[in-house]
Amino acid sequence: MDKPELKNFTKPESIKDYPVGPSFSGGHLVSVNSGWRTFKPVVALDTCTGCYRCYLVCPDGVIVKTEAGKVAVDYDFCKGCGVCAHECPFDAIEMVKEDLQK
């Protein structure tokens, strides 16, 4: 996976530790998006052909190509929009209701 990692961020205690003007390191992630989901995409690896249509059309770029030539989902950042499942030509992705208890 080639994307920025989640960082621990605490609000600076001193004004000196603030950036000079609104300028900051790119790719600086401090929060995930998983809480946005009510459904999550689950890939059926036996049905998946590795066509990567889902990878192409995911607006959030959270689908990863695996070494086995299939795909996996980065659930930290998947918003559960369902585009991947809707677009998969082989119906290999199912949108499964999140267990809200968890």
Binding site: K11, Y18, V20, G21, P22, S23
Partner: protein
């Protein structure tokens, strides 16, 4: 005329002096849109780029908003940028003014002070720049073409200082300065190079360390950035003085930092001015002094950061002071007057002040007008308070009677 050799003296207008100062400062990018009386600056700069004496990109933008926007684009990648405008153009880039200062982009801009429509007028007053006083730009008002050139070079030194990183606006009175020819000394390039280091800032995009710039904040963080802006502006006061001092050491010309006083020691009546009218005021001071009246003139060079302490120290001992504003905040008073009064507040003895509103839309201000101001300053301490307050704001040199 525009080619400078070592220690050359040239006979140029204020606009041309700025152009020479810009060339000596080696900007990477110039983006500007024409407006009278700024046009000569951009025409000369275009010629310098054409003839190769200035190696810079000249962007022919389609508006002043774009002029500022392009300057910010250049600054965001670490390039030194220059622009120039006036009046309606300054207002048209208003969004960009706040944006550049908030973005801590040390852009330098020349503003040819000109009246604001309506009614239309191409002639000078300070209503354009004064209306942008809160935009977070350092504002300097120069008195002649030499100072215009010198301040252009100093402007980059001040704006780009790591403790400042704030854009700077150099104000020249439209026509009176922009179009009047004077003998101006042009410093040699090598010496300017030793005075003004190449632009470097932490606040720029880079391939090694990609940046997200101009971001948004929640209420939990916004004030911190605004505080930093304020602190940088306050800290710039020392930087301005240091820049002036070092400039004097190398080039032999000093402008005394934030204010410039004439005959203010022991003066009883002090007139506060900005820009080119100061020359006239000095003549009036000499004439008053020859009559035994202790007059003086305090020229405000920097409106932001405001020379609060200098103004207070200078005016505190006076019997009365006047502030000559080429500006008015309708419904109150001149902006300089408000600022001067605020600097004096809380001092043990506050002299009486009178606000002279003059020069709007290019109206003349003569030596005699200023002598009359000093006369008024002499009389005002004796007036009873109600009388004084009634006549605190006075329009100078009205063409008609305003007593209806």
């Amino acid at each position: 005329m525009m080619h400078n050799h070592k220690n050359e003296s040239v006979f140029v207008s204020g606009d041309e002096a700025v152009a020479l100062g810009v060339r000596l400062s080696r900007p990477h990018v110039i983006s500007a849109y024409p407006i009278t009386p700024q046009t000569i600056v951009v025409e000369r700069l275009s010629e310098m780029v054409e003839d190769g004496s200035l190696v810079a990109r000249y962007i022919h933008v389609e508006s002043e908003h774009s002029a500022m926007s392009a300057a910010m684009g250049a600054s965001s990648v670490g390039a030194r940028a220059f622009t120039a405008t006036s009046s309606q153009g300054l207002l048209y880039m208003a969004e960009g003014l706040h944006y550049a200062s908030g973005g801590r982009m040390p852009i330098v801009m020349m503003n040819a002070n000109r009246s604001l429509a309506l009614p239309w007028s191409i002639f000078g007053d300070h209503r354009d720049s004064m209306s942008m006083l809160d935009s977070g730009w350092i504002q300097v008002y120069v008195e002649d073409a030499q100072e215009a050139l010198d301040m252009t070079i100093q402007a980059y030194r001040i704006a780009e200082d790591s403790s400042v990183l704030t854009p700077l606006m150099i104000n020249l009175d439209g026509f009176i300065l922009t179009h009047t020819y004077e003998l101006v000394e042009v410093p040699p390039q090598e010496e300017v190079d030793s005075y003004l280091p190449p632009f470097s800032t932490p606040n720029k995009m880079s391939l090694e360390d990609p940046k997200s710039m101009g971001f948004s904040t929640s209420p939990a963080d916004n004030m911190e950035f605004k505080y930093q802006q304020h602190k940088a502006m306050m800290d710039s006061r020392e930087v301005i003085k240091q820049a002036d001092k070092e400039y004097a050491e190398i080039f032999g010309r000093s402008y005394n930092g934030l204010i410039d006083c004439y005959q203010c020691d022991n003066a009883e009546y002090i007139l506060v001015t900005a820009g080119s009218v100061t020359g006239t005021a000095r003549v009036a001071v000499d004439s008053m002094r020859s009559k035994g009246i202790k007059a003086g003139v305090l020229r405000i060079r920097f409106m932001r950061p405001f020379p609060e302490q200098e103004v207070r120290n200078t005016l505190a001992g006076a019997a009365s002071y006047g502030v000559l504003d080429k500006d008015i905040s309708f419904g109150y008073e001149g902006t300089m007057f408000t600022n001067v009064n605020s600097a004096l507040s809380g001092t043990a003895h506050i002299p009486r002040g009178i606000n002279f509103i003059g020069g709007l839309g290019g109206r003349d201000i003569s030596v005699q007008d200023i002598e009359e101001m000093f006369e008024a300053l002499r009389l005002c301490p004796a007036h009873d308070y109600t009388e004084y307050r009634k006549n605190r704001i006075r329009f100078v040199n009205m063409g008609v009677s305003i007593h209806e």
